[in-house]
Every structure is written in C-alpha cells, then in structure tokens.
Symmetry: C2
Amino acid sequence: MSSSNAIGDSTVIQQRNLVEQVADYLTQAIISQKFAPGERLSEVQLARDLGVSRAPVREAARLLESRGLLVSQPRRGFFVRALDAAELNDIFDLRLCLERHAMARLVGDFDADKEGALRRQVEVMCEVAAGDNESRKIEEDLVFHRMVIAFAGNRRLLKAFDDITHELRLCIALIGKTHADPDSISTSHWLLLDALASGEPGRCREAIDYHIGVARDYVVQGIGETVA
Amino acid sequence: MSSSNAIGDSTVIQQRNLVEQVADYLTQAIISQKFAPGERLSEVQLARDLGVSRAPVREAARLLESRGLLVSQPRRGFFVRALDAAELNDIFDLRLCLERHAMARLVGDFDADKEGALRRQVEVMCEVAAGDNESRKIEEDLVFHRMVIAFAGNRRLLKAFDDITHELRLCIALIGKTHADPDSISTSHWLLLDALASGEPGRCREAIDYHIGVARDYVVQGIGETVA
DNA sequence: GTTCGCCAAACTGTCGACAGTCGACAGATT
DNA sequence: AATCTGTCGACTGTCGACAGTTTGGCGAAC
C-alpha cells in the first residue's frame, strides 16, 4: 500500500482502478478543506498533479458530482460543492425522513442479535469519543446509523442513505468539529437503542426526531457562525 | 428586452453535448426494452452505432449507472439493470417514505395556488388516461407526484425522488402496462388532493399509503407474472 | 464424454492530441 | 471615465490508439 495522500508520487499506481483512487483523493481533499468550497478544479492540472491522464480524472469528478461533492457547469468544469444553510436543512430533513422510516420498519422485527450489534457499536463510539480523532468519531457515528438502516432490510433505502452520507461528511467537515460533549453523543444513541428495544413506534419516532434535530441545529448553527 | 439570450421567441441556442444525447438514447432504449434486462452493452459497438467515440458513451453509461438503469462490473463493462421482486418492493417502499414525508411537510402550508396547480395536473392526467399513449400516462402521473414533492420545499428530497424516478420508469416499463382502469387513476389522485386540502396529516398519510400501496402491488404482481 | 488448458478475438482502462468554446484583458470608441 | 469590441490564452468536449485483461471456443488429455 502506497502513501495515501499522494497518488502519483514516483511509483506508478497499479491494479486498483485509477478512477477510484482519484475519487478517494478528491474526496479526502474536499472533506479536509484542501480545496475551498466553490473552488474551480482544473482537469489538466489535477491530472498533472496526480500523474494520470484526464480520462480517470473526469470519471472520478463525475462520480463525485453524483455524490454531491462537486458540481459541474457545462464547458466550465467542476467546482467544489458549497453548501448554504438552506441546503443543509434540506439534507438533514431528508436524513430524518430516511431514518424515521428505517426505525419504523426495524422496530417491527427487532431482536437480540441486532440489539447486540448496535450496542457494541455504541460502545465503540464511546471509546472513540474519549479521544480527539474527530473524523473517527464522525465515521463511527455514521456506522451506527448505517447499521440501523441496514437492519431495516431495504437495500434501496440504504443506498439513499449512503448517497447523503458523503454530503453529511462534507457539511460536518465544514463546521470543523463534532458535537462538543462526548457524553451527549453516547446518551443520545442509547436513547435510540432503548426506543427500538421498547418496541413502541411512537418512542422510536420521538427518539430519532430529537436525535436528528439536535444534529441539524448544531450543524446549521455551526455553518451560520462560519459564514458570519 | 424580452429575450436577451434567446433567438426569436423560444429558440434558444443550446448545443446539447453528446453525453446527454447518448444518455437519452440509452435511456429510451432501456425503457423501451430494446435492450433486454441483464444484457451486456459494448462500448465500442454503441459508439459505432451512434457514430461517436467511446468517451461520450462511457460518460453516458456512468450517468445511467448512477441513475440505476445500468450496473457496471470492473473490466467487464455495463449491463442493463435487472430488477427482481425484492428490489421492486424496496423501490416502492422508499418512494412511500419520500412521499409520506413530502405530504406531511406540504399539508402544513397548503394553499389555493398549489391546490389549483395540482388540480390542473390531475385534469391533464384524466385527459391522457382516455387515450392509449401509455408512456404519456406514466409521465403525467410522475409529474403530479413530482409537483407534490416540489411543493414540499425540500430540494434535496426532490432530488432523491428524481433519482428513483428513472428506476420507477424502468420497472413500470418492465410490466408493460399502466393501471388497467383509467378511472381508478384519477379517483386515486383526487383522494390525494382532498386529503391535502383537508389539512389533516392523518388523512394525507392514509391517502398516500393507499396510493403507493396499490401501485406497488400492481407492479410487483406484474413482475411476478412476467417472470413466471 | 468430460474436463482442463491454451489461443485468438474482443473489450475495457488509459493515454495523448486536436478543435471548439469560454473568460479575461487590452485597446478602441463615445 | 465608462463601455464596447477584438484578441489571446486556457480549458473542456471529443477523438483515435495502445496495452492489458477477459471471454469464448477449440483441441488435447483423462
């Protein structure tokens, strides 16, 4: 495995699709704010920097466009997606829509296996929350929510969630920090688990509404500070 | 000036790039069953047939992949998406999830303008339902549901709906016919309108659950007959 | 008759190149 | 001084070509 930050250092990269590698590089660069929101990306320059031709760069860019990390203007090229407060609200509203549905579907056939798996994941999140690896916290959080949706049994629903996952990473990265309080994260997720274990759809809905609402308010407030 | 970027009244100079044209061609070919589900598509052959090079064909294929009309296997190429009953169920379940949410959001600020627009669309659907242009029926139906979601005011939600729209067209085309009874279509949509106009979230949910449920059962049953 | 291995054909992944188009800048004009 | 216009540079859209891989068929071995 070669270094992850640069693709075309000195060794030529093989085997894995160039498209995927370029896509990973671009994703990382966008998430880590190496490219500013709204910045224009030149295909030729990217190809030069990464030591590949324009074809894989174009395909990777199109892939990231479909994931909402880039936007393209005809004959002008690709730009890093810039999110405003309204778009952010929409994303979290859609997330709420998907997770509500998943919780409702899941509470119907919740069992010990699923509960155990989710419980272990929350424990992992608690461990990570103590440290200062911010991106790891985000990823483990997303893993939990993805598990909930996966357990709901609708693969197309899971795909829809994966689609907005990249946008979630982007907007969380934009405000530069996760939830301030580590305890609040864990308790919030324990509440989701309790609601599922209770078997009551009403409690599930309350729990997920509260959970997503807090996350949305936090991010929207954060983006407001960033802009202002 | 009334038309600064237009020549004449409605003729806008727009040179559609080859990618879009190829994408449209492929979409039409897939929807109209010109390509069988699961069939492998050769980039070179498509390029030859369409008189273009492989680059636009590849990009168009990638676009259709992101829309769920094609699937790609590394180093093997693109295949026409084949849907089974389970995937079909998942798609309609996700559609229900999205439309429920949109109805709930929309019923909050439903007004005469929106009601009028939706009413006119249903009337268009009634006119079309009398004829035998099947694809037109499907399109006008989708227009109605898209309007509902657009009126809900969440653009990301609308994008999620647009994403599954292509898959909906595909699976409706697979069973080869729309709802048998023209009257049932119109009444079913009038019910949705009445529910929205009533302002009661409960009635909205009932109406959309019934509406999508009927459509799903119809399609799932249809695909069962096709396979069996 | 079946299975394995090899070979040729076709295909995908990637590359470099060309042409048309867009935006910026300098010069001309009012 | 401000605006219009012509030119220039850079970039995207598209193309044809090459290399490595996959595929399907044919023949040999069991």
